[in-house]
């Protein structure tokens, strides 16, 4: 479903990814791990095509990075993206933030309300739909961001350090939510440097170091995370 084929991404300051190749399957739970600056965020940005590879190819469910351009909005409607800093619109309520992601796709007005409530219920925030982000805790704000990512029924949810700003309890809650989402069939790619999280469940694990893949559990006979050291 997501394929990196000899991908290199260079910036004026230096290379962020060097000759990276991996394959993430439909419905997988995949950790992308590595220390700060290892290239995790760059890899995710290449998946939602905020960046183009300097060389090589990124393929996401039929979309090819070399084509890009006009297809990108269509691709992003099939992806859900979650960030460490939530990226919610502060002047809109939780339900308006979620509805916004539907409205930009041109969804029929009559379907927006029910779909928004469905995902807010799924993330456990149905009772706080009318609250503004500033009235919610960090964990709750991240749940709104996840609801927004889910509302278009994405094929994959990309989460870039989604628990980086959260306390331990909120982290566990968000991680469990991501696992539930994965259990319902949506692939989840979680970029994190939190090794406790990585070790807590068996999953596809890709470890990056200085922009290169140093370990890929899929190349090593299947899911490895949670089964010991990668």
């Amino acid at each position: 479903m997501i394929k990196f084929i000899h991908v290199t991404k260079e910036y004026p300051k230096g290379a962020a990814l060097v000759d990276v190749s991996f394959h993430i399957l439909k419905g997988e739970f995949c950790f992308v791990t590595g220390h700060s600056g290892a290239g995790k965020s760059t890899a995710l940005r290449l998946i939602y095509m905020a960046e183009r590879p300097t060389s090589g190819d990124v393929r996401v469910s039929g979309f090819v990075s070399a084509r890009g351009g006009r297809d990108i909005p269509r691709l992003r409607r099939r992806l859900g993206i979650v960030f460490q800093d939530f990226r919610l619109l502060q002047e809109r309520t939780a339900e308006e933030n979620v509805a916004f992601a539907l409205e930009v796709t041109g969804a029929r007005r009559s379907t927006v309300g029910p779909r928004v409530m469905r995902v807010l219920t799924q993330v456990g925030l149905a009772g706080k739909a009318r609250q503004y982000p500033r009235e919610l805790s960090g964990g709750e704000q991240q749940r709104v961001a996840i609801a927004r990512a889910l509302v278009n029924d994405p094929i994959v949810l990309l989460a870039d350090e989604p628990t980086g700003n959260l306390d331990e309890r909120a982290t566990r809650g968000i991680f469990q939510l991501l696992r539930d989402i994965n259990a319902s069939g949506t692939a989840v790619i979680l970029a994190t440097h939190d090794l406790d999280l990585v070790r807590s469940v068996p999953a596809h694990l890709i470890e990056l170091q200085h922009g290169a893949v140093v370990y890929d559990s899929a190349e090593d006979g299947g899911p490895a995370a949670g089964e010991g050291e990668p």
């Binding site: 939602y48 905020a50 909005p73 269509r74 691709l75 992003r76 409607r77 993206i81 990226r87 919610l88 619109l89 002047e91 916004f100 992601a101 409205e103 930009v104 796709t105 007005r109 927004r148 278009n152």
Partner: protein, 285 residues
């Protein structure tokens, strides 16, 4: 469409002060351009009223038969430059001189015969009120055998031409400078509105909004701000004109069509500024 209107209304509601400041900034930029427009309109009117006096006078030989004069008048009226032609008999010329030159009353009373010749007074159409056209008409009038002399004040018509050229050139340069400054201020104002919402634009893109979808509310917002700014600028111009008209001198105001064009120009500037600013921002992120 409903979503577009809602998003645009939301932009005004969420940031009422910046929106109002944008409108006021646009209004003051257009106000300066409008004041300049008023000055231009009035200078144009003043030059026009002087130009209306451009007249070619053909003095006729004594004893020219009335039928000959009437036939000639029809010919002259057919000249492409001519707006009207009027026959002034020598008696009418004398009566006019007595009326307009009362200080020479005693001389007029001592006259035994009327020394003033009859004449044809030829007025030119507005676009031919210049030295070259007046001279061309004068030459043609001289070719009539019964015409004694032709006068059209060549010197002052040439000066009027120069004045018109200078006013036109200075007007174009200052007008272009004002318009450019106005466009830059309006562009900057709208760019700030775009930057104020850059986070929102980023999020819209991440959830799959097309550039067209992102652009539309900004364009409508720019158009509305431009129209409101234009209307406010027109009101300010009217206020300034009323003050000048009451306390300084009689001046002309914009016609209805010119006022509407001014407001529409505000709208277009707002729309153009938004198109430019949002386009540049979308390309840069």
């Amino acid at each position: 469409m409903r979503l577009l209107l809602r998003e645009t209304a939301l932009a005004f509601r969420r940031a009422p002060l910046p929106s109002a400041l944008s409108v006021v900034t646009i209004a003051f930029s257009l106000f300066v351009i409008g004041l300049y427009g008023l000055v231009t309109v009035n200078i144009h009117d003043a030059i026009g009223s002087v130009a209306r006096r451009v007249e070619v006078v053909a003095y006729l030989q004594r004893g020219t038969p009335v039928e000959t004069v009437e036939t000639a008048m029809a010919d002259v009226q057919a000249f492409p430059e001519v707006e009207s032609v009027r026959h002034v008999s020598s008696a009418q010329a004398l009566a006019r001189a007595q009326r307009e030159l009362p200080e020479f009353q005693s001389i007029f009373q001592d006259l035994e015969a009327n020394p003033l010749p009859a004449s044809l007074e030829v007025r030119l159409k507005p676009r031919y009120r210049d030295a070259a056209s007046a001279a061309a008409v004068a030459d043609r009038l001289r070719s009539f055998s019964f015409v004694d002399d032709v006068r059209f004040g060549g010197d002052w018509v040439a000066k009027l031409d120069r004045l018109r050229t200078i006013a036109g050139a200075v007007g174009a340069v200052i007008g272009a400078a004002f318009a450019l400054v106005g466009i830059m201020i309006i562009g900057t104002t709208i760019r700030m509105a775009v930057l104020h919402r850059r986070e929102e634009i980023t999020i819209m893109r991440l959830v799959g909004a097309t550039d067209g979808f992102i652009r539309r509310p900004f364009l409508l917002e720019g158009l509305i701000k431009g129209l409101l700014g234009g209307a406010l600028a027109l009101g300010l111009c009217y206020g300034a004109w009323a003050l000048v008209n009451t306390y300084l001198l009689r001046a002309a105001f914009f016609t209805g069509a010119e006022a509407a064009a001014g407001i529409a120009a505000g709208g277009l500037l707002g729309l153009g500024g938004s198109l430019f600013s949002i386009g540049r921002h979308l390309r840069s992120v």
